[in-house]
Amino acid sequence: MKKLSLLLLSAAALCLSVQGCSDSKKEEQAPSKDKSAEQKLFVYNWTYYIPDQVVRDFEKAYNVKVVYDMYASNEEMFTKLKAGGGGYDLVFPSGDYVSIMIKENMLEPIDKNKMPNFVNIDPAVLNKINFDTGNKYSVPYMMGAAGVAVNTKEVPAGFDKSWSIFNRDDLKGRMTMLDDMREVLGAALKSLGYSVNTKNVEELKKAKDLVKQWKSKIVKFDAESFAKGFAAGDFLVVQGYAENVFLELDEEAKKNVSFFIPKEGSAMYMDSMVLLKNAKNKELAYTFMNYIHKPEVYAQVADFLMLPSINVPARDIRKVKPNYEIADLERSEFKEDLGDMLKDYNQIWQEIIVGE
């Protein structure tokens, strides 16, 4: 009897510890086909990327239902769509995945006549887009870039707003960079004056040497828990997305944080709305995209995310100051699909993080 209870106890312990390892980020539910009269729009988007209020207002205004599923990474989204999952109408991939999805023939061309609010989007931003030149298949949604957050309580003012901060000896052991190949190599490539999408192996090797210098000064490459460490004061300088960093900080702590996009530029992302080829509710999807780019709606979204507004009229009516402005991204570049170069990037990155 005692043996049995012992066995049960250890089994319970095992279950608990195993459960701890499996982090299920997916909160998705395959949309089911519905035959009711009410029209339904199936949206597949990043986690916490549209305020609930905006979706509810849209449902009310057009008397429709929005089924909203979420993903945590482009890869997760792509794998699910490729496996035939979903039945989605609208998806929000990043630039590199827009071009992959165009190549894979998964997207429906955008008819801009059905989207009068497209003209609200900043033409200067559109000009920088190379993953879908002329926006034939994608409608830009949000852009941003990873930057650097500094704890100004511990790090005296007057620091250079540059990637070279990761080379400072006095901050050794108190800094982290993202565990993300494109972001870290992008930072190094920009510091050396190269493109974040370079196809030149020599340039990549020089970037590797620079990252290795940074590596000797930082504590770790981390994309998951660095913001918690920054909030706790363990890390004084971190590379990361503003929204991740500020999420962990209370109002008081935010005063002691300076977030900047380094002057050399950074690897930028642009998440766009795309219409899937096999979408069932294309008209409703156009209505939704058009709705998002109404200035007052877009201002609400940009305020919620505290990101710069690519919608020109929305800039004047937004209420919250973004963490950085479009002007700060002047020298930054959109990340593009690397195609065959990807394996060189992977190789270089592995040499950096694991060793040669």
Partner: protein, 276 residues
């Protein structure tokens, strides 16, 4: 004629082992011999590319690091668990003590790791205490290195060493120790020469139960490891989620499983020989 119920009794466990052990292992094994799909997944073509890319010093370095961490943690765990299990087995309140070992498990594994980060961090409890008592002038970085990994692994895994040891020690006939001491052995000598050989099966189980999860661990090095603390589990996660090279991930996992299995078989054989 008596009915043979044997197959019915084994059916559930056989189903379980086939569906959740054999089939996944076979899938992993076959994926490791296929070609990488362009954006993740695999192509149904035979290829040895995954195994070729395993043969570089970086992977070997990670393998070595994993072995060092797993062996060190296992050794420390068994060394700590032996006296603990002995104490519990001899205590009049053993059920209470066993409960105390179980209770931390009611808290999620990840939360317990974050708790260690809160204790050991540069602004953590330990540093604050040492600095406020004047023992230290500057904080010490306890985290983000190999020692932190070993410490947290020991904390999270040690019950798996304590329980099998406890259950064998509990069954051990302690009058044998008295006999040995009557014959002139010191207490330590009596325990070492009489008790240890008798609880060998418990020690074997304790080693297996702690070594196997440690060898495949990835969450702990991810959270408290630094720039030089890669373990095989982290490589697999990276190849699966980030570089999306499923054949390579599968081949690393085949290596991990084989090293563990060969180690376990070898170990069990040497143990059973000793018993003969």
């Amino acid at each position: 004629m008596r009915k043979n119920y044997g197959p019915i009794y084994v059916a559930p466990i056989a189903f379980w082992l086939i569906a959740f052990l054999s089939v996944p292992l076979l899938i992993t094994l076959s994926y490791s011999f296929m070609e990488k799909g362009l954006y993740g997944g695999v192509e149904l073509k035979f290829s040895l590319a995954a195994y070729k890319s395993l043969l570089n010093t970086a992977v070997l370095k990670v393998l070595l690091n994993t072995i060092v961490i797993a062996v060190a943690s296992t050794a420390i765990m068994v060394a700590l668990a032996l006296p603990t299990a002995y104490y519990i087995a001899r205590s009049p309140v053993k059920n209470l003590l066993l409960m105390l070992i179980i209770i931390p498990f009611w808290t999620n594994f990840l939360i317990r790791i974050y708790a260690w980060i809160a204790i050991l961090g540069s602004n953590g409890l330990l540093n604050s205490f040492l600095i406020s008592t004047g023992l230290l002038d500057e904080h010490i970085q306890f985290l983000y290195n190999r020692y932190a990994i070993i410490l947290v692994i020991i904390y999270t895994t040690i019950p798996f060493a304590i329980f099998p040891l406890y259950s064998t020690i509990e069954k051990f006939d302690f009058s044998l120790i008295e006999a040995a001491m009557d014959l002139g052995a010191s207490k330590f000598r009596a325990l070492w020469l009489v008790m240890i050989p008798n609880i060998r099966s418990g020690i074997t189980t304790a080693i297996l139960f702690t070594f196997i999860p440690t060898f495949g661990n990835f969450a702990v090095p991810q959270l408290v490891g630094g720039t030089d603390s890669w373990m095989l589990g982290n490589l697999i996660v990276r190849e699966l989620n980030i570089t999306r090279n499923w054949p390579l991930a599968s081949s690393i996992s085949v290596v991990l499983t084989s090293v563990t299995m060969i180690g376990v078989l070898f170990f069990m054989r040497s143990q059973s020989k000793k018993e003969l």
